[in-house]
């Protein structure tokens, strides 16, 4: 069904990259009927307990008032640190959607008539589109993401 791969990239990121936006500009060919984006990253959770405790301690000290800190250091709600990467999509005219959600594996479909929640259905104009990976949080030493964009052509388009 998907006849063309428009983007296929694998990136390794580290905590130094947190709060970075990685913009992938790619060409959507004429007669594209549907786009499929596969996005996956790993790991999701920070397993290193010592590191987790340190990071929570730093956040609590930075954001909370002194009298509340002692309890907060061991708050079970806080002690589940995770990486958060989100994707957003822009066509040549502007915003086409965003997936602000925690899932570490996502498939996003955009076509003229339907779109995955978070994205706008509508015509898929040919030209340079952008897929942005926003690195909201990177707490593990290393994190790897895979990003692939595939296009399905309008039926009969290749037959001229």
């Amino acid at each position: 069904m998907y006849s063309k791969t428009l983007l296929d990239i694998s990136s390794r990121i580290t905590p130094a990259d947190r709060h970075v936006h990685l913009v992938h500009r790619f060409l959507v060919p004429r007669n594209t009927r549907q786009l499929r984006i596969d996005f996956a990253y790993s790991p999701k959770l920070l397993q290193d307990e010592a590191r987790q405790n340190t990071l929570v301690r730093q956040a609590v000290d930075r954001y909370m008032e002194p009298e509340l800190r002692e309890v907060a250091y061991t708050d079970p709600d806080y002690l589940v640190l995770q990486n958060l990467l989100t994707v957003s999509l822009d066509d040549p005219a502007g915003f086409r959607g965003a997936a602000h959600r925690a899932n570490k594996e996502q498939i996003i479909i955009v076509s003229e008539s339907t779109a995955t929640p978070g994205f706008l259905a509508g015509p898929l104009p040919a030209g340079l589109w952008e897929l942005t990976v926003s690195l909201h949080e990177v707490v593990t030493d290393k994190c790897q993401f895979e990003l692939q964009v595939q296009a399905a052509e309008t039926e009969g388009a290749d037959g001229l």
Binding site: A59, Y63, F95, A98, A102, G118, S134, H136
Partner: protein
């Protein structure tokens, strides 16, 4: 002039970002909660808006278009317009928020800080407000109560104090609540706050009271109120926030031939040298959304608070009543009402109004 108070939930999410419910499921739950309007504020997207009118008609509730600008340095709620073309959070650094807010305004939207003191990164990235604001006056509102049982949370208490500080610095900024609604599961102790927005009755066209109101609500999910009217109410600070009874506040001029009345969000100008003074009335309406909460069997504390301290205090039973005072208002730059009590075993601030601002002196021309 009569004000109609519209029960609103101003901060919600759906499957279009990271919540578990659809707009239709949330609207159904919102009707159960006796809300009149909900704002759809998904993280960084407007794709959920496509279902707005369909859900409004099906569930009989108004839906206000919004989104939550979910950035690395702070979360900002926007209401009333698709702001993404003029205000792209991905291009907004920690020192660029004034431009971001200007872009939101250029789009025709309102900008409000969400949960300014919720713990931030890496526990909740961007949840703590870290943008540097140059023009505070440009901000349209601040969410001082976030989440269920808002009065019990330290980060909300801090936000409320911060709002008070801003008011004392002379900033006339409205304060609202937002459930930050992601799913409908709630513990039995949890209480929910509602933001009432005051709309002028004559502006709320074609809406009859009483039995006819119910009938027209079925026909008109927006209950005769438009999105621009609700935005205007926030802009003006015609706002009353509560987990139970609705508080209304009026200031009436006395000692003049034509005494004016000022409502929540308005500026009351008094001229003591010309004999003009203010009399303040707080009304507590215990008939609103009655199935949702109970304060029976306790005495509540109702206060009028101003920039220069407490203006008046009453210990009151949990029934609808009006309370009036002609206290000395010298030095008060703003006045608001607050109600304290215990709801579901959790004691604290249960409701507050936005301010009536006070200016002394004659308007010399």
């Amino acid at each position: 002039m009569t004000i109609r108070w519209v029960a609103c939930e101003l901060h919600t999410h759906t499957v279009h970002s990271d919540a578990s419910h659809t707009l239709d499921e949330m609207a159904t739950a919102a009707r159960e909660l006796e809300l009149d309007w909900i704002a759809l504020t998904d993280h960084n997207t407007v794709s959920g808006w496509a279902f707005k009118e369909q859900v409004e008609a099906k569930r009989g509730i108004g839906i206000l278009s919004g989104l939550e600008w979910t950035t690395f340095y702070g979360h900002m709620l926007t209401l009333g317009a698709n702001v993404l073309h003029h205000a792209d959070w991905r291009f907004t650094g920690p020192d660029d928020i004034d431009e971001g807010i200007a872009g939101i305004h250029k789009s025709g939207g309102l900008a409000g800080i969400a949960h300014p003191f919720r713990i931030g990164s890496p526990i909740c990235t961007g949840c703590y407000w870290e943008f540097t604001i140059g023009k505070w006056k440009a901000l349209d509102y601040i969410e001082v109560w976030n989440g269920p049982s808002p009065h019990m949370k330290a980060f909300n208490q801090r936000a409320y104090l911060f709002w008070t500080e801003l008011l004392n610095r002379g900033l006339r900024i409205p304060a609202v609540s937002g459930r930050d609604w992601h799913h409908s599961l709630l513990s039995s102790e949890a209480t929910l706050a509602v933001t009432y927005l005051g709309v002028h009755e004559e502006a709320a066209a074609g809406y009859a009271g009483g039995g006819a109101a119910l009938e027209s609500a079925v026909q008109d999910p927006r209950k005769g109120v438009s999105e621009p009217q609700l935005l205007e109410a926030i802009r003006l600070g015609a706002v009353s926030v509560t987990q139970g009874p609705l508080l209304k506040l009026y200031a009436r001029e006395t000692g003049r031939e034509e005494n004016r009345t000022f409502g929540i969000g308005e500026v009351a100008r008094v001229d003591p040298s010309a004999g003009s003074r203010l009399s303040l009335t707080v009304e507590a309406d215990f008939e609103v959304r009655k199935r949702q909460w109970s304060l029976e069997g306790q005495e509540l504390k109702l206060c009028l608070v101003g920039s220069a301290g407490i203006v008046a205090e009453w210990i009151v039973p949990p029934v609808s009543a009006a309370f009036k005072t002609c206290s000395d208002m010298t030095g008060q730059r703003w006045i608001r009402a607050e109600l304290y009590g215990t709801m579901n075993g959790q004691a604290g601030l249960l409701a507050f109004t936005n301010c009536i601002y006070v200016e002394e002196g004659s308007l010399t021309l």
